[in-house]
């Protein structure tokens, strides 16, 4: 057993885990953060995607101990002060989710996409960047639309701030 300590959604936490415990298991079972989902075992589906030190990682594909000392953000930490993130709002407004299982990973992936590439995203880029997230319900049509809408809104917010 090993003690792991990290910041999760702004809170300093620590827990005792078996060395082989995956970050996804640690978040779900030790921390009760069940918004991070596990949809495959091969790092393909992206339902487990979280941000670690500002980068998108698949939490089913790394050990909890590897996250020691880092700052992790999960879907539960995306809303601020009860306000939905622009990306969360865009998924709702564009019907970008159905069963909701892939949704946390999709939203985390989409936020990361804009962090990396900026808000000037075309459909082709969005579709290409979603390669690591699988959805079986929506056919991606409205997910792509939601991400585009969020990117446009974030661009407006940035412009207004300048």
């Amino acid at each position: 057993m090993t003690t792991v300590s990290m910041t999760v959604n702004g809170k300093q936490i620590s827990g005792e885990v078996e060395d082989r415990t995956l970050l996804s298991t640690f978040l779900r079972e030790n921390q009760g953060l069940t918004g991070t989902h596990v949809g495959c075992d091969t790092s393909q589906c992206g339902a487990c995607l979280v941000h670690m030190d500002g980068k998108a990682v698949k939490s089913c594909s790394m050990l909890a101990v590897q996250a020691t000392g880092s700052a992790v953000t999960t879907i539960e930490g995306v809303s601020q002060n009860g306000q939905l993130h622009i990306m969360q709002k865009a998924f709702k407004e564009n019907h970008g989710l159905q069963c909701g299982f892939c949704t946390p990973g999709m939203i985390m992936s989409a936020i990361d996409m804009i962090d990396r590439l900026g808000t000037d995203l075309d459909e082709k880029t969005i579709r290409h960047e979603l390669e690591g997230n699988i959805c079986r319900c929506t056919g991606y049509h409205n997910i792509v639309k939601a991400i585009k809408a969020a990117a446009d809104e974030m661009a407006e917010v940035l412009e207004a701030a300048e």
Binding site: K92, H95, Q98, F101, H128, G139
Partner: protein, 787 residues
């Protein structure tokens, strides 16, 4: 009608919990002292089990128990059933082999459950399952259904000689043969429908708890129909009587059919929780899902279409061999029979149809309903034949369809179905206009100039939904009635809970069902809550599959609303000293027609519960239930057109444009309906272009992870153009037909018709993967032609 009523694009009420990570799926549940289950699974496709040694496993840390099939049978747990009896054409009942939740004698597919380990953690349980030593005596295996029917093929079940489950027929053979004898042209094709794995993103999961003081079980499970699960677990598997078993299907992450069935793992968890004296949870990993979730499709067909000299269809003859895998899953028998061959008339006036279906056992995962269930297979056969026949007789595919469309309703087909309404030409016209069909020739020329091959293909589908009239399906062999139930509970302050037997696992019922109530009573949807998925809350229901929740589930709600409205009107009339017939409900108020007298809905519901001043003899309260049993199937139909470009150097097919024109009858929420179509289209396109389930000859599943089975990704598919035409369903109280499966039903033949058009060939199998397309290009010398 309100701003949130029928036809409004209301944003989903359920979304907030999903976008914030607060959804509650089965694997999110935890209980005090909960143990974790892992299954010991067969590594052989066909073998006798010589011994199961659990000594090492039992000594491993955290292990509570290793339980096997001998103990399961000794405890009286019943065999897994198939709920739809099919009789062969000679009148004999289907030949069903015994199917146990844990097998201890002969395993018949890779992944079959043999034993279950319960341990403190999931990792410990999985480690111990690895340590169970099963000694096998290998038997020869067969994976293809045509091979399974051959003389000398390995035999799976003593009950099914020659691996034949049934040899079934529909339609009239002699007059159909006669039509072929007199035909001016006959089109004949061999058509395969490839095996698929449903792959809802949430893997199956079960959490079972036994309370010994009450002798009561609770099961949280990933189910599309928790009430049917309870019924079957009680009545056939003898887990517990219904009043001692509560089944809860909380948030469920997609189903697509695969979560209809009651699987060995749920039975084993319920059985194990009592034996080990602690709650037991099992969650499938993805490879387990590939190995054990019921697969879909897997047909080999030969089809023949007879035309007269005017190119009118005079006869259709289909022979199909359906692979049902190693065991018969819950509704497996109905899929390649009544859900398939009854749709072989398509949208066309075909006077003579005869179909013969042989269902066979093979050493593969059981096959059952997957989005569309039989109807995609029928549509694929019909629409591949229509496209090919049109080309053979030199007609434009659209014109050939037009001259054969059913145009008068009701229309009785030779294969049971009586189409009640439709306008097939309207959806064909809408789709052709939206895709600019006339401009295709020019686009093809442009593609050719760029060294690409361009093709266009269409598919005019019809399906049968709203399943189904109980008496009708009962006469065809169904073991259940297919009505739906609803209860509308008006609270004293006028807010409402609607209890429904339908189950939402992505379909948005919490929104659309509330829209119906809002429409009727003029109340905001936020004051209306939908309750589903819990056998302790909702008395009985048949669940969600076959695009039935709108047409059947909402019709039950509409019936209950009729009763609520009738009672509310009586109370209002009494309070306002008016005649009951003069009360109308509008915008949340009960008004006396032609006067300014009115009461709010809240005032009337409060009066119902205070009961201080009710009409003579009226019971207090405002709560009504109803069961709705449909009078006919509903018949959604439409036209899909796909335009592709093929790169002859790589064999990569890209969908340049895809138009779907659908007639779903009345639409409650266009936003949600469009979402259903998008998702269905991508599942159908996935089948046609990417997905394929591959076994090796020994019965090992080669495509058992997302590394090997190509799930459609965002960059594999385009955005879609959707068109809507409407003919209301005359037999449905709301005029609804259903929309959940259409996309997956109509799209595969449109894609393959487009790809074969681009390649200038007649025959090809799905999926149109780059490998296969490239090979076809080489074989047909098209590479040179394109250059």
């Amino acid at each position: 009608m309100t701003a949130e009523g029928i036809g409004a694009r209301v944003l989903r009420k359920e979304d907030k919990r999903f976008i914030t990570g607060n959804g509650r799926y089965t694997d999110d549940m935890t209980m005090q002292r909960m143990g974790h289950a892992a299954f010991v699974r067969s590594t052989h496709a066909h073998a006798r089990i010589k011994s199961i040694n659990t000594d090492d496993a039992m000594k491993m840390p955290g292990v509570d128990a290793v339980l096997n099939g001998h103990q399961l049978v000794a405890d009286g747990i019943g065999n897994i059933i198939c709920g739809w009896m099919i009789h062969s054409k000679d009148g004999s009942p289907m030949n069903m082999g015994a199917y146990r939740a844990l097998e201890s004698e002969t395993v018949r597919y890779v992944g079959q459950a043999i034993a279950v380990v319960v341990a403190d953690t999931q990792q410990q349980a999985r480690d111990a399952a690895e340590a169970v030593v099963v000694e096998y005596e290998d038997l020869p295996a067969v994976v293809d259904s045509l091979d399974a029917l051959k003389d000398g093929a390995p035999q799976l079940h003593p009950e099914a000689a020659g691996n034949l489950i049934y040899d079934w027929e529909i339609g009239e053979e002699a007059p159909t043969d006669e039509a072929f004898a007199n035909a001016a042209h006959v089109t004949r094709m061999d058509i395969d429908n490839n095996r698929l794995v449903p792959n809802p993103m949430e893997p199956r999961s079960a959490l079972a708890h036994f309370d010994p003081s009450e002798e009561h079980y609770t099961l949280y499970t990933t189910s599309q129909n928790p009430h049917v699960a309870r019924l079957v677990l009680s009545a056939f598997y003898n887990v517990a009587p219904e009043n001692k078993l509560r089944v809860i299907a909380p948030d469920v992450g997609g189903g697509f059919g695969s979560k209809i069935f009651i699987y060995p793992e749920e039975i084993a968890c319920l059985w194990a929780t009592k034996r080990v004296g602690r709650p037991v949870k099992w969650t499938s990993d993805r490879t387990e899902a590939f190995l054990t979730d019921a697969h879909g499709r897997d047909h080999h067909s030969t089809a023949e279409l007879a035309l007269d000299a005017n190119n009118k269809i005079t006869g259709f003859r289909v022979k199909t061999v359906a692979n049902l895998g190693a065991y018969m899953s819950l509704f497996s028998s109905s899929v390649p029979t009544y859900l398939y061959a009854t749709l072989l008339s398509g949208q066309y006036n075909i006077p003579n149809i005869y179909a013969n279906v042989k269902a066979v056992y093979t050493n593969t995962t059981p096959v059952d309903a997957y989005r569309g269930a039989g109807r995609p297979e029928a549509t694929y056969v019909v629409e591949r034949m229509m496209e090919t026949a049109a080309k053979e007789v030199g007609m434009a595919p659209a014109e050939f369809r037009r001259i054969n469309f059913v145009r008068e309703f009701p229309h009785q087909t030779p294969v049971i179905m009586a189409y009640d309404a439709g306008d097939y030409e309207a959806s064909l016209d809408a789709a052709m206009k939206a895709i600019d069909y006339d401009g295709f020739a020019q686009r093809r020329t442009q593609s050719e100039a760029a060294g690409k091959l361009r093709g266009i293909g269409m598919s005019c589908y019809i399906e049968a939904c709203g399943i189904a009239p109980s008496q009708a399906v009962g006469s065809l062999g169904a073991g259940v009635g297919l009505w739906e139930s609803a209860e509308v509970r008006v609270n004293a302050v006028g807010t409402i809970e609607v209890l429904t037997g339908s189950h939402s696992h992505g379909q948005g019922h919490e929104t659309t069902f509330a829209q119906l109530v809002s429409d009727r009573l003029g109340l905001p949807t936020e004051s209306i809550s939908i309750v589903h998925g819990d056998t302790d809350k909702v008395q009985m229901g048949m669940g969600t599959y076959g695009s039935r929740s709108g047409a059947v589930g909402m019709s039950a709600i509409a019936k209950a609303l009729d009763k609520v409205e009738a009672k509310a009107k009586k109370i209002a009339a009494h309070l306002m000293e008016a005649s009951e017939g003069d009360i109308e409900i509008e915008n949340g108020e009960l008004k006396v027609t032609g006067t300014d007298k009115k009461l709010t809905f809240t005032e009337v519901s409060l009066a119902a519960y205070t009961a201080h001043n009710l009409p003579e003899g009226m019971e207090p309260g405002l709560k009504e239930g109803a069961f709705y049993d449909p009078t006919n199937f509903t018949f959604p139909a439409g036209c899909y057109i796909c335009e592709v470009e093929v790169d002859p150097d790589t064999g990569v097919v890209s969908i340049e444009n895809f138009v779907a024109a659908d007639d779903f009858g009345t639409i409650i929420n266009p936003m949600i309906v469009e979402g259903q179509v998008h998702g269905g289209l991508v599942q159908g396109i996935g089948q046609a272009m990417l997905e394929h389930t591959q076994y090796d000859e020994d019965g090992q599943l080669l495509t058992a992870s997302y590394m090997d089975y190509t799930m459609p990704r965002a960059d594999d598919v385009p955005s879609f153009t959707l068109e809507t035409t409407v003919t209301e369903c005359p037999g449905n109280p709301l005029g609804m037909k259903g929309c959940g499966e259409a996309g997956a039903i109509g799209s595969p033949p449109a894609v393959i018709n487009a790809v074969t058009d681009a390649l200038g060939i007649r025959d090809m199998n799905m999926p149109a993967s780059p490998n296969r397309v490239w090979q076809l290009i080489q074989d047909n010398g098209m590479k040179e032609a394109a250059e």
